[in-house]
Subunit: 387 residues, 2 copies
């Protein structure tokens, strides 16, 4: 299979898009990415659309075909929706890369979208819970904040993490989000603000949790040869998709997600680099504690030291390993199907050197998108063409 590159990226602002239909939102991001790539829509030979709860929250399926038509793709181009809970966007990207790598087409489009803010909170929780095993875990009343609350408690007990260390993740990501124009809710917070916000699922507080969001993001993938010398092109060094158990019982240790560990291991091998070669990471911080666990699972922070690193500012911009310089899910928001592609949007701008929260001389970046209880995961490693 041939090497592939990202030639263009696009994203809507994340937040509330009350008046915009889900397919229009996705098409907006798609057009942005095509314009950024300088690729005519007629040249796109495959579209992959990442979406999670569009059916349940908007009543619209067959969304891939709708978005392909709205974005101006040629008739008869295969348009496929892929779903793997919160990892749907990363999965869409992986398949766009596969379509080009395998030679099915010279240019593919990955789009991710979700529309959630119009729905009631109970309805949003119900739809997100569809990523759990409906029979095994849902009857207990467990929700995702509940699950990550348990993980927090276990992690704190095992590694002696303090409330302030975990809060430091939130303080950092919310501050990063303040200077990201696409972010839904950047903020200047103190660790006391986080600790004193209202309880959601003890010990998780409001600010420990990413918000419900509307938004879309998109990426244009082309063959490496066609991208050579094109300004703004970024190499895809690896993109790996894995699965894990959808049942809590399948995760005897809530301080780690097998799907992340496996995906990261394979991605570093494919990319031919090690964790210490990375200049930054955009990872799946659906909750503050998730960032800590993910950072250890990815191997960018030593096991058991994620909270300490956060507390010491070692994952901040300018630290040993900047994590979520974009603001992450906590500040940018989490329009589920869009998140994986939004991470790639941020990473590409870092590697182009024009990110609002630029990591100095960034050469390699990693994106990590995790679904449900770790039921699906993608890890991608991007590199500057001269890296």
């Amino acid at each position: 299979m041939r090497d592939v590159s990202i030639l263009g990226v696009g994203s809507t602002r994340f937040g509330r898009h009350g008046e915009t239909a889900i397919d229009d939102l996705a098409a907006d991001a798609a057009r942005d990415a095509l314009a950024d790539a300088g690729v005519e829509p007629e040249r796109i030979g495959a579209l992959y659309l990442g979406n999670f709860v569009g059916g349940m929250l908007t009543g619209q399926e067959a969304l891939a075909g709708l978005v392909g038509e709205a974005a101006g793709l040629a008739g008869n181009v295969p348009c496929t929706k892929v779903e793997g809970a919160c990892a749907s966007g990363g999965i869409a990207f992986g398949h766009a890369c596969l379509a080009v790598a395998a030679g099915l087409t010279d240019a593919a489009l990955a789009v991710g979208v979700e529309k959630m803010t119009h729905a009631s909170n109970p309805r949003i929780t119900e739809s997100l819970n569809s990523a759990m095993d409906n029979r095994a875990d849902a009857p207990s009343g467990l929700t995702f904040p509940g699950l990550f609350g348990m993980a927090y408690r276990l992690y704190a007990q095992r590694y002696g993490a303090t409330r302030d260390q975990v809060s430091a993740v939130v303080v950092k990501n919310k501050a990063n989000g303040l200077s990201n124009p696409l972010a839904q809710m950047g903020a200047r917070l103190s660790v006391a603000d986080v600790r004193d916000s209202r309880p959601i699922a003890d010990p998780l507080r409001l600010y420990d949790c990413c918000p419900a969001s509307d938004g879309a993001a998109a990426v244009v993938v082309v063959a490496r040869d066609a991208a050579r010398g094109r300004g703004g092109a970024v190499d895809v060094r690896a993109t790996v998709q894995t699965s894990g158990s959808a049942r809590i019982a399948g995760h005897p240790d809530l301080c780690t997600f097998d799907a992340t560990v496996a995906a990261a291991g394979r991605a570093f091998e494919e990319a031919g680099i090690a964790a210490e070669d990375l200049d930054f990471v955009e990872l799946h911080d659906c909750f503050s504690i998730a960032e800590i666990i993910d950072s250890e699972d990815l191997g960018v922070v030593p096991r058991g030291e994620g909270a300490a690193w956060a507390g010491e500012g070692r994952t901040a911009l300018g630290g040993d390993m900047p994590i979520n310089p974009s603001g992450g899910l906590l500040a940018k928001g989490h329009p589920v199907g869009a998140t994986g592609l939004s991470q790639l949007y941020e990473a590409v701008h870092q590697l182009r050197g024009d990110h609002p929260n630029q990591v100095r001389d960034a050469r390699f970046g990693l994106t990590h998108n995790l679904g449900g209880t770790g039921v699906a995961c993608t890890v991608s490693i991007l590199g500057r063409p001269d890296a």
Copy 2:
């Protein structure tokens, strides 16, 4: 990319499976296919799950990971749900073929599933309507029976098709279904029975419409080299996916679906055979009139002669071009996500020579899976290894 073959197929009975959860239903078919292939689940390197309205009707998403786990796949194998309305099953198959052809794995599993019969009729209609553009067409009150009723009227007016000719499609498929043990509702009907059944969306009558169904089907795909000499292996000569408009306004002529015409053209080219080389076709007869239109779009019956061919028995078992010897969607049922894989199940048994409604000395067969208003389509051509 390398050639691929189908090594095993599995299917549940189609009909009502009230007590069985959607993931168990899918896992049953997956295990059947693995046993038929003689492939251990640990050898499967990718799973694609075709499902359409699982979120809306069962509240269960992340279904691909759940099914992979239940079917005994190794941890961390990528499991992906794909959705393209009623073509979801065919899309899952195409991606399993791609994963093997591209060398990502030596064995992939495609599973399709739907669970519908537990839901109320209005809820089923609402969920199926999610394949239409919610804004452009849904506000008119249009449903899929309504759409195909309009197509029927236009077709009859343009080509002079009679009620009895269209009914002949139903009589044939229901009769074929009687001897298919997996079929939901085979029946011995007369053209008068069809004509006199109650109106659904004029001129479509009850028997012109496929039923709502529960069911699952699965296919194991391996590299051609690994399948050589293995009993029961069938060559995948082509599998093509296309898209079309999700809006009625995008289909100025309802007597044809562009997505089918394009997919068939490419599939014959890839397979290196012509329509007249086919020994049978399993096509998407969601309504009687759909079989007639599809048969012309696929090029297996001359344009405008589909109804006449049906009326003259030329598409019956033993006719010029046997269409839906399995009973098709009309008799087998249409558990949406499963349908495309069920068609492949039937085609493989035809090419093995052990189908209950065997087409004599079948060497080549075509399967055709159409979604929504033609928003997604897949066409696959299978051949006997000695063909």
